[in-house]
Amino acid sequence: MLDAATASANDAQMLCEDIAQQLFPRAQRAPSEAILASTRLILQNLVQAIEAKLGISSDVATPLSWDMLSRSGLLREAALLEFALARMAEHHISQRLETGGAAFLTQLPNRLLESDDPLVAECGRKLLIAQNAAQIRSPESFLRQLPADVLHLLVWRVVAVFQMDGSRSAGNLIASGNQLLATHDEAAALHATAAKLVYFLPEEERGSLLNPKDCGLALYASGLAHDYRLPHDRILRFIDEQDVAPLLLMLRGRGHEAQAALAIVQHLRGRRSDDHLLPDLLVQYEALDPEAARSEVFGWRLAAAPVWKAG
């Protein structure tokens, strides 16, 4: 009775928040059912992988802590949701690029394996390993891609759920949580290996970063992220967005001519239902001053800064 009354009282506040969110959405587009389902799936995968590392096994698809995490709002972190949305975008783009055969054989990461600079060759090797690991799309693989600070946040929230639950030894949970964090290597994640390679790339190879056909998706996104100081994951989302305008603006800021930009857009995005709008957009594109486009994109940095709701 006590528990039920407290739960119901708390629910009254949560209901206000849920209604506000549905009545007054801030994004111009409503998320589709497919996006919601995929986001939930990726987050569940992450929680499931953490539970497994904490030694908590479950015979059902939904992680044991899912209900409490989702109801208490502990999963409403922008950084976590951005991670899930970016993995979806990455998957969509990669699937489209996969149909192009074995193009990666001639791409930059392969060439760099034989670089005279051991740091660059090592970065190339790590990037290839990360690329292969990322395509597995298992709970474990998603976990490996998480930035260390996001993982840190998530791990202790999952631990807290089981501590409150009281069914497991708090000492064991904390030890397993620490062990998981100690063995997590953020530098091995795809976005991190790509960022490091872009940073240390020799000058003579930098031209390759301007064409995704020549450098592959991970380095292309990291190159854009480096140029505009935006997060790698946000770039992936811009590339996969239904609205092509953010990508076009980034390309204009890099000084691409209209036809070169069109080739990149078509390579990365494939055929889209609104392709008939592209000719008009390209006329506007040519009229746009690259410097103005560049400074506009730089302004997106503030909106892209991660916002933590709590701890």
Binding site: T106, Q135, I136, S167, R168, E186, A195, P290, S295
Partner: protein, 455 residues
């Protein structure tokens, strides 16, 4: 836009304490610190470095990230490694770039046309022109792991006649068609189709290896060929079997569920129904794989379980929560023990949960609609029982039902005949037992007894 080489011959170092105070720093960091208005022994006046140090101190994790710094004439982009040692954060700057705002000019680069464009559903591995493994499908990574990436193919595989190295073949531009290779680590053999990938000017770019047989088949072939029995009584499925099978199954399940739930748009009703059938079959296969994996593990002589206090009431509550929907689907009422009844046993939590889930799952599957499945705890006996109102188990079948693959004549209900065998093995590994008797008023009563935690 950037300097030719951002890499520093020697890292630039600084040390920051828990409050962000700069405790020690090389000259370059001191210049930035004082240039930004910092004072001796004060908080580090480089916001990016302060933020990274604070993150590192708070989480205790190691970070390797870029940090942007506004300097007098240029923006700087630094590659910084951060590590917490005792109560201080050590920052090492290994890359230092000056950044200007002018964009680079475009110079589109042509990618050479490749010889192979066709796709296949069989697992594929790609080698570059020097024989390094560049890419492998997830199912192959499940078997050979990502450690093989960017390493020489010849380090992991050999041709079965052991006379030639595949990298040598590639260099000589003399690629065979179908051939047998052997994975050196696991000694599994694979039939592969080797395609050369060439550029327009006939230059060899690499090779594509299509794996025509998987490890499971190869293992089977090996068992057939092997003159001696396996060293342990397990199934000998290989440690990568479940991983390798689960991945394609997971893909089938996810895609079938996506299609069946019409997440990407409406489809014809019968197609949705087919997709749900596929998902159901994949789920059944996934359960079977889990059973086989368990079977493989528990039949090994070195199989061990943890001994920790387990509370049967908690187990019952969790099982009821997990199977409530399934019970409702079958119109079966699940009756759980009084929450006041507590019974602490010794065993491995997840294994006890697995056993009781199996018992209640079976009871739901084989009980008539409208009946009740009851979970009962007996602290005096340190046991938990699952009682159903089904047909019961005949006395002569009460031992047979715990044998491997025993279905008591049933088929087509999604069971594998392994659940009870595994459950009893697990119970006995925890120094307890699992038995079946007749329930009062008909039906079956399965009882799991474990050593009491109070002893």
């Amino acid at each position: 836009m950037m300097q030719a080489s951002p890499r520093l011959a020697l890292p630039i170092k600084c040390v920051v304490d828990a409050e962000g105070k700069l405790m020690a720093a090389d000259a370059a960091v001191r210049r930035l610190h004082f240039g930004n208005g910092g004072v001796e022994g004060g908080t580090i006046a480089v916001p990016g470095l302060l933020e990274l140090a604070s993150l590192c101190w708070r989480t205790g994790l190691k970070f390797e990230r870029t940090v942007h710094v506004a300097d007098k004439e240029h923006d700087l982009e630094l590659w910084v490694e951060a590590e917490k040692r005792e109560n201080l954060v050590n920052l090492s700057i290994i890359g230092w770039q000056e950044r200007a705002s002018a964009p680079r000019a475009s110079s589109p680069i042509r990618s050479p046309e490749l010889g192979i464009t066709q796709r296949t559903n069989l697992p594929v591995m790609y080698l570059n022109g020097t024989g390094l493994i560049l890419r492998a499908d997830p199912v192959l990574l499940g078997i050979f792991s990502t450690d093989c990436i960017a390493t020489p193919f010849g380090q992991h595989f050999r041709l079965t006649d052991e006379t030639v190295d595949i990298a040598g073949l590639l260099r000589a531009n003399d690629v065979p068609g179908r051939t047998k290779i052997e994975h050196i680590g696991s000694q599994t053999r694979h039939d592969v189709l080797v395609d050369a990938i060439k550029s327009d000017d006939d230059h060899l770019l690499g090779a594509r290896l299509v794996f025509l047989t998987d490890e499971a088949e190869a293992s089977k072939a090996e068992v057939e060929e092997a003159p001696s029995p396996p060293s342990h009584p397990g199934l000998g499925l290989g440690r990568h079997f479940a991983t390798a099978v689960r991945q394609p199954l997971g893909r089938i399940l996810a895609n079938a569920e996506t299609i069946g739930s019409e997440l990407n748009g409406p489809i014809l009703e019968q197609y949705s129904s087919y997709a749900k059938d596929i998902a159901s079959a994949a789920r059944h296969l996934a359960e079977l794989v889990s059973d086989l994996e368990d079977l493989d593990a528990i039949d090994k002589p070195d199989f061990k379980v943890a001994q920790e206090p387990v509370e049967f009431g908690d187990i019952a509550k969790r099982v009821a929560g997990l199977l409530a929907l399934k019970a409702a689907d079958h119109q079966i009422e699940l009756s759980v023990p009084d929450p006041e009844i507590r019974c602490h046993a010794m065993g491995e939590f997840r294994r006890v949960l697995q056993i009781v889930l199996n018992l209640v799952g079976n009871a739901i599957r084989y009980s008539p609609g409208g009946s009740t499945v009851t979970i009962v705890i007996d602290p005096s006996d340190c046991s938990i029982s699952v009682i159903d109102q089904g047909a019961g188990v005949a006395e002569e079948d009460r031992e047979r039902i715990f044998t491997k693959f025993e279905r008591l004549g049933r088929s087509g209900d999604g069971g594998s005949g392994l659940g009870l065998y595994i459950s009893r093995k697990l119970a006995r590994a925890m120094r307890g037992d699992l038995t079946v008797t007749a329930a009062d008023g008909g039906g079956a009563k399965f009882t799991l007894r474990l050593p009491s935690a109070n002893n």
